[in-house]
């Protein structure tokens, strides 16, 4: 456990993706089975046991440490698990440090109450970093900036195979993944996936550049709306049902309404949306249901989820992916027409005769829930990854607003010496109100100049944040604007980024909050 804790600690502090991958790779190479498999499960969020409550931890600590000293320490550190891990007094002659495997095995059998007693024994045996990692793990608060996908990427890079191959077998496996490691290291066969509801690597679209159209024949393509939800894959096989996000995470537990509506033995590709009376609701309504472990009855009623289908990858065990798009589409339509389909509908094909006609449709597409258009080649098979040519996304033009830079914060990693995170505001009643934050959209040269400007125009410092003179106008591009109770302005922008730096424009001529409100969807 101490080694795994050291990995988690290093991951927490390492901002760059490359650095994280290398740390994980090294750990998986140096650590034996089954320890590394349990570590992989922890990193991919596949560990489940009765969580220990913060109150239990506090009580354990107060059994060992003076309450006043603990109080001052907690005030200083500000995090319970970290305070407890640092303040825990060493007990001479403690047992050897437990492995993660042992901890997982014992916790699986423990109740919340009996977990407390085991915890005390482990805290005595681990070092400070080990205690911190254990306490974070056991309270469900482990966050080190590693997604399940990144952990799998580390495995794929180490084995020099495409990530898709791991995704394809992943959901047929369970911790501690001994057969997976054996396969990746060439010591065993590819894990069997037949009959298991595994994730099918997605086919992704290239962004369409304006001059691409000149070279494309409109007669070879189909068009669909690009929906503003999240891409999902519905897999039903061998009596099991899964709802996967685009990264291959199983998000089914939060969407029992969709799972209940899924038919047997099928793999479908579509967009998860909140629909009311057939109308797509703004993305932030869907967001209420994302990143949750479950959904309450209230949630299910207030934010009804639907999947708008656009492809079928498998029907009754027949892999349709090698078929051309048109054929898959007609299989999808005839399957859909064969029965009432609760919570599922079809993404319609948009008839068009020329690119110009389609361009006009796209420009008119300000309707709620539409982000633009998708173009799909009629004869293209379903290929994993992002092949160039068969699928394009053609997003509608972004909205823009002229906002005033208010605060700048240092970035992370390579940008840690630059003020690269910008909070900008719009005018309301003669004062600026923050309306969003942007971290991208500028070139390295522009970043240098912005950084210089921030340093030269600082009026106040708050730790890593600088407040600047209200003078610089940033033209911010964004996809849409929504109501939000979390922000003082009452608004939240979707995908804001710096479009242009308006060195020339006086701040007094920047936009107002009212102007943004007129763009609400």
């Amino acid at each position: 456990m101490n080694d795994f804790a050291a990995l988690l600690d290093a991951l927490l502090f390492t901002p760059a993706r490359l650095g994280k991958l290398r740390l994980m790779s090294e750990y998986f190479a140096a650590t034996p089975d089954p320890e590394r498999g349990w570590a992989l499960a922890a990193l991919t969020g596949e560990l489940a046991f009765a969580e220990v409550k913060p109150m239990q931890i506090r009580e354990l600590v107060l059994g060992r440490v003076d309450a006043e000293l603990f109080g001052w320490s907690y005030d200083f550190v500000g995090d319970l698990a970290e305070t407890a891990s640092l303040i825990w007094p060493a007990r001479p002659g403690a047992n050897r440090a437990p492995g993660l495997s042992e901890i997982v095995a014992e916790l699986a059998a423990a109740t919340r109450a009996s977990a407390g007693a085991r915890l005390e024994r482990w805290l005595d045996a681990l070092d400070a970093t080990g205690r911190w990692a254990l306490l974070k793990l056991i309270t469900g608060g482990l966050r080190v900036g590693v997604s399940a996908r990144l952990a799998k990427t580390a495995l794929a890079e180490r084995a020099q195979i495409p990530l898709d191959e791991i995704e394809a077998v992943w959901h047929g496996l369970a911790p501690p993944y001994v057969e997976l490691f054996a396969w990746l290291e060439g010591r065993g066969p590819r894990p069997e996936t037949a009959g298991k509801p595994t994730f099918h690597p997605l086919m992704l679209a290239q962004a369409l550049a304006e001059d691409d159209l000149d070279r494309l024949d409109p007669g070879s393509y189909r068009a669909e709306w690009k929906w503003d939800g999240i891409r999902v894959q519905l897999v039903a096989r061998g009596g099991e049902k899964r709802l996967y996000s685009r990264s291959g995470d199983d998000i089914g537990a939060a969407f029992p309404d969709i799972l209940a509506a899924m038919p047997a033995d099928i793999v479908l590709d579509g967009e998860l949306l909140v629909l009311r009376d057939g109308e797509v609701m703004p993305f932030n309504e869907l967001q209420q249901r994302l990143n949750r472990k479950t959904a309450s009855a209230r949630m299910l009623q207030d934010y009804p989820a639907w999947v708008r289908l656009y492809d079928m990858l498998d029907e009754a065990g027949a892999d349709l992916r090698p078929l051309p798009f048109d054929e898959r589409r007609s299989r999808l339509e005839s399957w859909y027409g064969a029965g009432p389909r609760e919570r599922l509908d079809l993404s319609p094909l948009i008839p068009f005769a020329s690119w110009d006609e389609l361009r006009r449709l796209r420009e008119g597409a300000r309707a709620r829930g539409i982000e633009g258009l998708m173009l799909k080649r009629r004869d293209a098979p379903y290929l994993s990854g992002r092949p160039k040519g068969p699928w394009f996304k053609w997003k509608r033009g972004a909205l823009t607003v002229d906002a005033v830079l208010m605060y700048a914060q240092r970035g992370h990693g390579k940008r840690s010496s630059f003020y690269s995170d910008y909070t900008f505001g719009a005018w309301r009643d003669g004062a600026l109100v923050p309306v969003g934050k942007a971290y991208s959209g500028f070139t390295d040269e522009e970043l240098k100049r912005l950084d210089r400007w921030v340093r030269d125009n600082t009026v106040e410092r708050y730790g890593p944040v600088r407040e600047v003179a209200q003078q610089l106008v940033l033209e911010i591009a964004f996809d849409s604007v929504h109501r939000s109770t979390r922000h003082k302005s009452g608004l939240a922008l979707r995908f804001p980024r710096v479009h242009r730096i308006r060195w020339d424009k006086p701040a007094s001529e920047a936009d107002t909050v009212a102007a943004l409100e007129r763009l609400l969807t």
Partner: protein
């Protein structure tokens, strides 16, 4: 036997010893000063008469030049000298090169002012020598039980490991110019790192002082002027203020490290953009502080700069009498 509180007093200028007519680490220029060690919040320029170890005097000369003080009197560890009605002795504090505890004897009472100190071995200076006394004046920089510094070998090992894992990047470690810089260098040498280490310009003068005083730091090169490509895979030491600012931009994809006791707290390290926090401190950690309080056997403990309240609480749990002593001019170990 009068209580030392009647003759040793905190004033706006610093801690004043009345029967000897001198200040200890005065915050503003004083006629007579006894200096515990060379850090800026303890040794200041332009005192008229200075008493300190020869090493501390050398450090002050390097820092302040002609303004180091009117007369500079070196005193070897362990030798007594009389100042007015007080006998004074300097004893190693183990903090940085030249650092001393000040032992005062007056009318049969002995007071020890620890200055800043640590208890673990440091290859660049002699170890702390506990002195039994009636009053022990202790620092409390890390006076909270969350501060337990791990072994140096472990922290240097993490640095060397990171250098092996990222051989194409350079590693830049934030260190104080006096003490931490030379200790990190000496530890690196002890644990087998023999390559040249590149130094930020602000660190060079103090390294030269240490070498003149006989502390071997191994091969050192200036970072300024070094070609970017030549710094890949290298180790660079720089003052904390430079590690994540304009200066570090010239470096090839640096791993930002920082050697400080404060690195124990993750949020502190993250706020500073530190990628590799190294918990290496020249101050006593909680266990060293509490062990020292018992060891010196003082009837009374005065606690200065740092987390006084927690250490006073701990002293009372250990059955010791302790109180806070507010002295002007001392800072927390700045980062």
């Amino acid at each position: 036997m009068p209580n030392p509180a009647t003759w040793l007093k905190p004033t706006g200028k610093g801690l004043y010893c009345e029967p000897g007519d001198f200040y200890i680490d005065p915050a503003r220029p004083a006629p007579r000063a006894v200096i515990t060690h060379g850090h800026g919040d303890h040794a200041r320029a332009n005192n008229r008469q200075v008493l300190a170890t020869a090493e501390t005097i050398a450090i002050m000369r390097s820092r302040f030049g002609d303004e180091a003080g009117g007369s500079l009197q070196p005193l070897a560890y362990g030798e007594w000298v009389a100042l007015g009605d007080v006998r004074v002795k300097l004893v190693p504090a183990g903090h940085v090169l030249g650092s001393a505890q000040v032992v005062l004897e007056h009318q049969g009472t002995r007071v020890v002012i620890s200055g800043d100190y640590k208890r673990r071995p440091d290859p660049t200076c002699p170890p702390f020598e506990p002195q039994s006394c009636d009053v022990f004046v202790t620092e409390a920089t890390f006076g909270l039980p969350v501060f337990r510094h791990p072994p140096d070998a472990q922290e240097i090992g993490r640095l060397l490991h990171s250098m092996r894992l990222f051989p194409e990047r350079c590693h830049v470690v934030g260190v104080y110019a006096l003490g931490k810089c030379q200790r990190v260098l000496a530890l690196l040498r002890r644990y087998g790192y023999a390559e040249p280490v590149f130094l930020h310009g602000a660190l060079q003068a103090m390294c030269e002082v240490y070498e003149r005083l006989g502390v071997d730091l191994g091969p050192l090169l200036p970072a300024t002027g070094a070609r970017r490509a030549d710094l890949a895979g290298r180790l660079i030491l720089a003052p904390p203020s430079a590690i994540s600012d304009l200066w570090s931009r010239r470096l090839p994809d640096p791993v930002i490290a920082m050697a400080s006791g404060w690195m124990r707290i993750r949020q502190r390290a993250r706020q500073r953009g530190v990628e590799l926090p190294l918990v290496i401190s020249d101050h006593a950690d909680w266990d060293e502080l509490t062990a020292t309080l018992s060891e010196v056997g003082a009837g009374e403990i005065w606690v200065t700069h740092g987390a006084e309240e927690a250490l006073i609480r701990q002293a009372s749990l250990q059955g010791l009498k302790a109180r806070a002593l507010s002295i002007a001019g001392f800072e927390d170990e700045a980062e």
